[in-house]
């Protein structure tokens, strides 16, 4: 089967990009993904549960993420949770999206729309 070109998935929606980034460092269940996004964005991005799973559904239909096994949540051991992980295709799409953003940023700087790169203290 021909490998799909990551470029065809671009641009990603903000939600899709956030979810892919959240899964980049390992598989997570839905709530963990939400918390990761919230923590990374200082609470500025707050996906609702419905919106989160609409994004996950689309990403798994496109085979950018996939389900791993269901297993109990260590915090709530009476409930089984479904875990998701990023697929190799998802990883290349996320990378392609980063490159696209980087290119946009470079262009914006060249046009003086955006200040020169300077590390802000974080």
């Amino acid at each position: 089967m021909k490998k799909p070109d990551p470029e065809t998935y671009l641009p990603l929606s903000a939600g899709a990009f956030d979810v892919l980034v959240a899964l980049a460092d390992g598989e997570k269940h839905g709530y963990a993904i939400l918390k990761d996004i919230r923590r990374r964005t200082d609470g500025k991005t707050h996906l609702t549960a419905g919106a989160l799973y609409a994004v996950i559904k689309r990403l798994s239909d496109d085979e950018l993420v996939e389900e791993s096994d269901e297993r109990p949540d260590p915090a709530l051991d009476d409930e089984r949770r479904r875990y998701y992980r990023i697929t190799p295709l998802g990883r290349s799409v996320a990378r392609a999206e980063m490159r696209r953003m980087e290119d946009a940023l470079t262009l914006a700087r060249a046009k003086k729309l955006f200040p020169r790169a300077s590390r802000t203290g974080d």
Binding site: Y31, L34, T48, A49, G50, A51, Y53, A54, I56, L76
Partner: protein, 870 residues
């Protein structure tokens, strides 16, 4: 806690907004995330925020998800239809025409039944006519007299405005000869009642309308304004009969009410000026019934004051809408009902087509089911497919609709089209909304019906490689209902068509008492001052007749004050010499016609006894008259009327006694036979009815081929004459029949198409049932069953169902016929013979549609059938 419990229930309810597929896949997880978030919240305020946030999120996500599924389904449906072009084409063709017809019919119905007429306060506008009651109690509406107009104007307890109109016309000299223009003389009160808003200028002032203003004023149409009004002076003026009128306003060209007028002139009517069209606006809250009761009392007191002329005169009000529509809205309802029936038959067919497709797609559904698609998802997919199919058909239908509309437009009454600029169908937002709504509702209903027929999804079905041996019982039931209802509906439709055709045929073949073939006719206006001088009109008429007579190809020519097939009538009171003045009614109204000698010859009116007029019946000779049989029977029942004397019985003027020299056949005019008498033009030169005369030209060949020559010859005889409304008697006859003929024709077309669709439906259902039973038939034949037995077995069910449909249809046809009889026709329509005929036609179609596939089955070799079974 109770609050939290309720909040959870609301949350569960909100979850249900999500598409089921999405819910099945992620619903549990959404609840988990929601609970986890809530567990993390430390205060009740934070918990409330989590609840609201999640709930709002669901409200946003649900529509987006539904839309995304819809997009997928539409794409899938479109691909499916493209893969099965024959199915798509058959279904679209079946639906598109009924949808086009329904669109056009809705346009007509909308125009005639729902749209207000273009008058202010139209719901309160009335037309008030005088009613003359004949000896047999027959009522006839006549235009009003100034006496009743004055009496009506005094009733400001009933009406807040009353106005009268009287027909007039003017002739203008132009580069292409004289031009005739219709006009209306209008009474005080007109400006407050009827007219459209002027494009330019203003309406009449009260002083102008009441005759208080010294200058003569007029309002004209925009066409007149740009072609005839002079704007060179200080005020725009129009010369009418050599008198200058100041034009104060210009009305849009679409408004020509009444009479097709293009000039409106204020006037006050004198007592002799009869033939008034009286319009009134009822006071708010006064119902029509009350007004008509009061009018009865009023007519009674008018009759008491003038027993000589008003004894048999009543007064009656009807809404201006009823007066103008004259029943056309009821025809529109009938045709709309017919087209709705046609649409239902078409839908039943499409359900069957969908059913066949569902059965053939059973394997696909089972595979999709095994892959996780649930039944509701499949139903949704099928309904979407049906919607796509109906949408494509509606789209195709919208293209065909203007063509149907062009035909349907002819059913809009002439007054609406020619005088108020109203047409049947314009593709506007309301029409599109109607089509979209009907399509959507039908698609959902019939999509669900088709989906309900789908056999249950089982994994075992995947193991076999054929469609299930028999569809579910529910599916068979739906197919049965489809056949029975199609046959019943088609039968009702065919019966209605037969009723309408019969009614039209009765009208068409009715003996008119005259022969319209080969007669050219037009009108001449003799109202100009030059023609009004005493004794001028007979000479002008004689010259015109002689000039027309000279044209090669013309056989004979006559002139008459009235054309029996057209326009208007003139009434007079008649008394017979020696008839008891004390009798129940010494005088009665007859149609008054002034004619030249050739009149009876040109129109082929038979004289039963006596002679026609001759050139010798001139002024100064013995006054003569010809009456029809009704007058003779009325005055001298059972006796010979020839040689007896009659005269106009209007008491204020002395009219001479006239000797009856001939008795003519009754002539049918504008819808009924009425007592009529004829007087020679030469002997009654100053009768007001001669302000307009009809020339009647009998020709040897095509009358219209001579029209130009005759007009030119008549124009040359007097340059002030402008022949107008040039047509043939045959065309006038056809025009009076055309709405009836057209509606009969349209309904017949619908019925034919309905019958065809129903036959296709029966054929389809029988054929697919036989297809399923082929192995069984193969076995039967192998065991010795003959072709006849197979045909019987194959067609039996369809025939039984068709018979049931026929029975239901016959009952329904009687009911529908009885309703039509009351609302549309005046004659008996639910004629058992007509219904039996319709039933026979439908039964033959059903028989053919079920026997043909059965014969094909019988012709199939048992071996072939058995092979399919193996």
């Amino acid at each position: 806690m109770a609050l939290a419990g309720r909040a959870d229930r609301v949350f569960d309810g909100l979850l249900k907004l999500l598409p089921q597929e999405f819910r099945d896949r992620h619903g549990r997880e959404i609840v988990q995330v929601f609970r986890a978030e809530r567990a993390d919240a430390s205060t009740s305020r934070e918990r409330a925020v989590v609840w609201i946030h999640t709930a709002l999120g669901l409200l946003q996500t649900a529509p987006a998800e539904h839309l995304s599924i819809l997009r997928q389904d539409v794409k899938f449906a479109a691909r499916g239809l493209a893969r099965h072009p024959i199915f798509a084409l058959a279904a679209t063709a079946t639906l598109a025409l009924p949808i086009a017809a329904a669109t056009a019919m809705f346009g007509l119905l909308n125009t005639l039944a729902f749209q207000p007429l273009p008058f202010p306060d139209v719901d309160r506008l009335l037309i008030i006519d005088e009613i003359s009651t004949g000896p047999a109690g027959e009522r006839r509406r006549l235009r009003s007299t100034p006496a009743s107009f004055d009496a009506l104007r005094a009733r400001d307890d009933l009406f807040d405005a009353v106005a009268a109109h009287r027909r007039r016309s003017f002739t203008f000299a132009g580069p292409d000869g004289a031009e005739w223009v219709a006009a209306a003389m209008v009474s005080p009160g007109w400006s407050a009642l009827l007219p459209a808003r002027p494009d330019i200028g203003r309406a009449f002032t009260a002083a102008e309308e009441g005759g208080g203003s010294s200058s003569r004023v007029a309002i004209v149409s925009r066409r007149m304004w740009s072609s005839h009004v002079s704007t060179r002076g200080r005020t725009p003026t129009l010369d009418l009969d050599e008198v200058p009128y100041t034009v104060v306003g210009v009305l849009p060209d679409s408004y020509r009410y009444p009479y097709g007028a293009e000039i409106w002139i204020p006037t006050t009517f004198s007592a002799e000026q009869e033939d008034l069209l009286v319009a009134a606006r009822a006071r708010p809250g006064v119902p029509l019934d009350t007004i008509n009761r009061e009018l009865d009392v009023l007519a009674g007191s008018l009759a008491a004051a003038r027993p000589d002329t008003r004894a048999d005169r009543g007064l009656a009000a009807m809404s201006i809408r009823d007066s103008i529509l004259a029943g056309a809205d009821r025809t529109a309802w009938l045709l709309f009902g017919a087209v709705a029936t046609l649409l239902l038959i078409a839908c039943a067919n499409v359900v069957h087509l969908l059913f066949v497709r569902v059965t053939s797609r059973h394997r696909e559904f089972c595979i999709r089911g095994a892959l996780g698609a649930n039944r509701s998802r499949q139903i949704r997919q099928m309904v979407t497919e049906t919607i796509v199919l109906f949408a494509i058909s509606s789209f195709a239908g919208l293209f065909a609709a203007p063509l149907v509309a062009r035909v349907v437009d002819l059913l809009v009454p002439h007054v609406l089209r020619a005088q108020l600029g109203v047409h049947a169908v314009s593709i506007d937002a309301s029409l599109l909304a109607f089509v979209a709504l009907v399509t959507l509702v039908l698609a959902i209903l019939f999509g669900l019906a088709a989906a309900a027929q789908a056999p249950p999804v089982t994994v075992t079905a995947l193991l076999g490689d054929d469609v299930p041996a028999s569809p579910a019982a529910r599916a068979r039931r739906i197919a049965r209902v489809a056949i029975v209802s199609q046959v019943a509906l088609a039968l009702v439709l065919v019966s209605c068509a037969v009723f309408l055709v019969q009614s039209y045929e009765r009208l068409r073949t009715r003996n008119l008492g005259l022969d319209p073939a080969g007669v050219l006719t037009f009108q001449l206006d003799l109202a100009a001052p030059a023609h009004r001088a005493p004794g001028v009109r007979p000479r002008v008429i004689e010259d015109a007749v002689r000039a027309a007579q000279q044209v090669p190809g013309v056989v004979s020519v006559a002139a008459s004050s009235v054309n029996p097939l057209c326009c208007y009538e003139w009434g007079e009171y008649l008394v017979g010499e020696g008839r008891p003045a004390s009798g129940d009614r010494p005088r009665f109204i007859v149609h008054h016609r002034e004619v030249t000698p050739e009149f009876f010859n040109v129109l082929g009116i038979r004289l039963k006894r006596g002679r026609a007029f001759t050139a010798a019946d001139a002024q100064g000779a013995e006054p003569v008259a010809i009456v029809d049989q009704r007058v003779a029977d009325r005055l001298w029942p059972g006796q010979d009327a020839i040689g007896r004397r009659v005269r106009i019985g209007f008491d204020r003027r002395e009219h001479p006694w006239r000797t009856i020299v001939g008795i003519a056949d009754a002539v049918h005019d504008n819808g009924a036979f009425h007592a009529t008498w004829y007087v020679p033009v030469a002997q009654h030169p100053d009768h007001p009815s001669l302000a307009r005369v009809h020339l009647l030209i009998k020709t040897g060949g095509d009358p219209l081929a001579l029209a130009a020559d005759v007009r030119r010859a008549v124009g040359a005889s007097d340059p002030r004459l402008a022949p107008f409304e040039v047509t043939t008697m045959a065309a006038l006859r056809a025009r009076s029949l055309s709405p009836d003929r057209l509606s009969a024709w349209i309904l017949t077309a619908f019925a034919g198409f309905g019958l065809l669709l129903a036959s296709i439906g029966i054929y389809g259902v029988t054929a697919s049932a036989i297809e399923r039973r082929l192995p069984e038939f193969g076995v039967r034949m192998a065991f010795g069953a003959g072709p006849a037995a197979i045909v019987r077995a194959a067609a039996e069910r369809a025939l039984r169902l068709s018979a049931a449909g026929c029975l239901i249809g016959i009952t329904a046809a009687f009911v529908v016929g009885a309703v039509l009889e009351r609302v549309i026709f005046n004659t008996t329509t639910a004629d058992p013979g007509a219904i039996a005929g319709a039933a026979a036609v439908v039964a033959i179609a059903a028989l053919g549609a079920s026997l043909i596939p059965a014969w094909r089955a019988a012709a199939t070799l048992p071996r072939v059938a058995l092979r399919r079974w193996e």
